[in-house]
């Protein structure tokens, strides 16, 4: 029997300043007690006009803006941009540069997923332990990148045609040592969360979305793969040298928060495999830039769209050139923005506490959503 008295739904404003909105995201929850009746996602608090900025920067400067657009998986963003410019200009990237790029991108994917693991654990309620574990491992990767590029986060290391400079001494040994540490770190997170009953109870069957709906929404990345759709840009439209590696694309079963976590955990292991193979196959010496690169890059008129598999899904750069040294229009297809569309469908009908976990499971980077 349900008591027959009037109740009202109340609106709860979560964000833009709330500990678990992963930045300045805002959602207005309409709640009935502990149940979410409706959700209104409000984005745009971190809009900095990155796309407009790209129009006013030449192709070399634009790389730096890509770092700031996607500040947790910078290398995939850079890669997408330089690949678009290379495709437009018809440059052939030296093989050694391609391998270094793949190594950077995959290590960056691991670092980004560690960040996810840490923040996700905090969303589910672990008091900081997963956060510290995740950050500890991420910092190892960042230290490696700092040695490689001179910057901790905003690398600007890729160039149209290749790389900015040769890798540091002992690159291969350092990378291999790093991989050993990262493997231990992955096991730490795995041991902390994966088989914890409370974690399972909090994330399993929470925020489920079916494969059909996921495709209709145009989701990508781990959020899509968690529904069982085996779609990965690296496998399905191989770019760079990804067709030379042997790796699996993990998929989930139910498309819930637990599957999204598990897909990312497995992706980290696969990324380690890719880096190991890349280190084995990489030419020990050779050029890192094409021989004849103009000092000032001018690309012919045309338009091109290049997607890459970023840590969060399909990150694409749509570049329109009308000649000259800067793009006429540069549109960034950001995976988080697309994935965020499904937030309402995933959340309505769940509990208030789940809304935070579901938001965390999308692995939001607001700078990329708002650009």
């Amino acid at each position: 029997m349900v008591a027959d008295f009037d109740t009202i739904d109340i609106n709860i404003n979560v964000g833009p300043q709330h500990p678990s909105t992963h930045g300045v995201f805002r959602m207005v929850l309409t709640v009935d007690g502990e149940l979410v009746r409706d959700l209104d996602a409000v984005v745009g608090y971190l809009h900095r006009g990155a796309e407009k900025l790209l129009e006013n920067q030449d192709y070399r400067q634009g790389i730096g803006i890509q770092d700031r657009t996607e500040y947790l998986a910078q290398f995939p963003a850079e890669q997408s941009y330089v690949m678009a410019a290379e495709k437009l200009g018809g440059f052939v990237v030296p093989e050694r540069a391609e391998y270094v790029r793949v190594i950077c991108v995959e290590l960056n994917r691991i670092a980004s997923h560690f960040m996810f693991m840490g923040a996700y654990g905090t969303d589910v309620g672990v008091f900081g332990t997963s956060f510290i574990y995740g950050f500890r491992e991420r910092e190892r990767v960042y230290r490696f990148f700092e040695e490689l590029t001179g910057e901790r986060m905003m690398y600007s290391y890729f160039r149209v045609g290749g790389l900015a400079w040769e890798v540091m001494d002992g690159f291969e040994e350092k990378a291999r040592a790093l991989l050993q540490e990262l493997k231990r770190g992955i096991n730490d997170i795995n041991g902390l969360l994966t088989r914890n009953e409370i974690f399972i109870a909090r994330t399993r069957h929470v925020g489920e979305i079916s494969a059909e709906r996921a495709i209709e929404y145009g989701l990508s990345g781990p959020v899509l793969r968690s529904t069982g759709v085996r779609w990965d840009v690296r496998k399905d439209e191989p770019y760079s040298v990804y067709d030379r590696f042997d790796f699996d694309v993990p998929v989930g079963e139910f498309g819930d928060c637990y599957d999204r976590y598990m897909v990312r955990l497995e992706e980290m292991r696969q990324a380690v495999r890719i880096v190991e193979q890349a280190l084995d196959q990489m030419p020990k010496s050779g050029p890192i830039m094409p021989e004849k690169m103009p000092r000032m890059l001018r690309l012919p008129a045309g338009e091109v769209y290049v997607p890459v598999e970023s840590a969060r899904g399909e990150y694409g750069v749509y570049l329109v050139s009308r000649g000259g040294n800067h793009p006429w229009r540069c549109r960034v297809k950001s995976p988080c923005f697309t994935n965020l569309q499904a937030l309402r469908e995933m959340t309505v009908g769940e509990y208030v506490a789940d809304s935070v976990v579901i938001l965390g499971s999308i692995d939001l980077v607001l700078s990329e959503v708002d650009r």
Binding site: D4, L35, V126, F127, I132, I198, Y351
Partner: protein, 380 residues
């Protein structure tokens, strides 16, 4: 040792005031160092150092925090319900201090030894629910309201298994006097006869104190501190004081009831200093366990919390009471207490783990579940 029986100086009102002052002083010091200990322990679990700068090894960190809180501005939202808002912190922390009155630390050290001490503690400790509701309502903040309502639901529910577990111990000891219960454990502590009661006592105690994994009312990542979200400065520190005081009292009570308190394992009458060391070691053990849980466990959801209480904890504790009664009435051998309690513990743990994992493996029609929930919420 302190003269605790009879009145100090023979004057009743002076005695009462002095004892209150002692409680307040001891509790404040204990809380200050408990917060320090918690930060250090959790830091170690997370491979950090914790506070190191304030005083030797950061020992004065708690004092510095307390000073900062006292000096901070005491804010009150203009739309808050003035008296409800301002009195709520006292409603939360006074009951906790009241429970402190009846906890014996050694045979002679304690504030008051009541012959119905256990009953008194159980009765008084549930009063601070009112404080959380007042804080949640009076703040005029939706997060606080949500937190306050959650706190009420949770603390009332978990009161039941907590009472049932201490009742089990009281049955075995056939007394409600905590000193008598403790001194019956000179050979075998009651954790041996009532392992289930011990585990449920800790679980329900965690829920009563709003600590991980039951920190749902104050969940940082959801309701941002819940009832305490609008409080600052000294008023906020009262909530903190209440939380850590109840942690200390509950641990001391657990040590007395289940771990043989100040008696076990040194015969029936160890010297006074040894009693003090024993109770401190056992209380610290309980506290460290609770810190450890906090550092590693995620948070439950409100419906899971409720179903865990009503579907798991209460049935098994009632079953344990029933078996205790059988054993005691028919004078069966004591070992059967252990057998029944242990079997219930293992059974309940295994059943919970299996249930969670099975539910995780089985597909669920998510949309149907959500529709049903929403329909229920609508009152259809």
């Amino acid at each position: 040792m302190m003269p605790v029986l009879g009145y100090w100086f023979g004057i009743a009102w002076l005695d009462a005031i002095l004892r209150l002052a002692v409680i307040a002083g001891v509790m404040t010091v204990v809380v200050i160092f408990l917060t320090y200990a918690e930060r250090k322990v959790i830091a170690r679990v997370q491979q950090r150092l914790g506070p190191t700068r304030t005083g030797p090894a950061g020992l004065l960190q708690g004092v510095a925090d307390a000073l900062k809180l006292v000096l901070k501005e005491d804010l009150r939202p203009t739309t808050a319900d003035r008296w409800v808002f301002e009195l709520a912190p006292f409603m939360v922390f006074v009951p906790v201090f009241l429970t402190f009155v009846a906890v014996p630390f050694t045979r002679d050290l304690g504030v008051r030894f009541l012959s119905l001490g256990l009953f008194y503690i159980v009765a008084v400790s549930s009063l601070n629910i009112v404080g959380f509701i007042m804080a949640g309502w009076g703040s005029d903040n939706k997060y606080a309201l949500l937190g306050g309502v959650r706190a009420a639901a949770q603390m009332i529910s978990y009161e039941v298994p907590l009472v049932l577990t201490v009742l089990g111990v009281a049955m075995v000891a056939s007394s409600l006097d905590i000193r008598v219960i403790t001194e019956r454990q000179d050979v075998v502590p009651y954790i041996v006869w009532q392992p289930l009661a011990f585990v449920v006592f800790i679980i329900a105690g965690l829920a009563e104190m709003n600590r991980t994994p039951f920190d749902i009312p104050v969940a940082e990542s959801e309701v941002v501190g819940g009832p305490t979200v609008e409080y600052s400065g000294i008023r906020w520190s009262f909530f903190q004081l209440a939380e850590y005081s109840s942690l200390f009292v509950l641990s001391a009570l657990g040590a007395d009831l289940f771990l043989g308190g100040y008696i076990w394992p040194f015969g029936s009458n160890p010297p006074g200093w040894l009693q003090l060391i024993l109770i401190l070691v056992k209380t610290s053990f309980m506290i460290l366990m609770i810190f450890w849980v906090r550092a590693t466990f995620p948070r439950l959801r409100i419906d899971q919390l409720m179903s865990y209480c009503w579907k798991v904890l209460i049935p098994v504790t009632v079953a344990q009471l029933f078996f205790n009664g059988l054993v005691l009435v028919y004078r069966w051998p004591d070992i059967l207490l252990l057998v029944f309690s242990g079997a219930l513990l293992v059974g309940a743990t295994a059943a919970t783990a299996v249930a969670v994992r099975r539910a995780a493996r089985r597909p669920r029609d998510a949309q149907a579940v959500r529709d049903r929930r929403l329909q229920y919420a609508r009152g259809a």
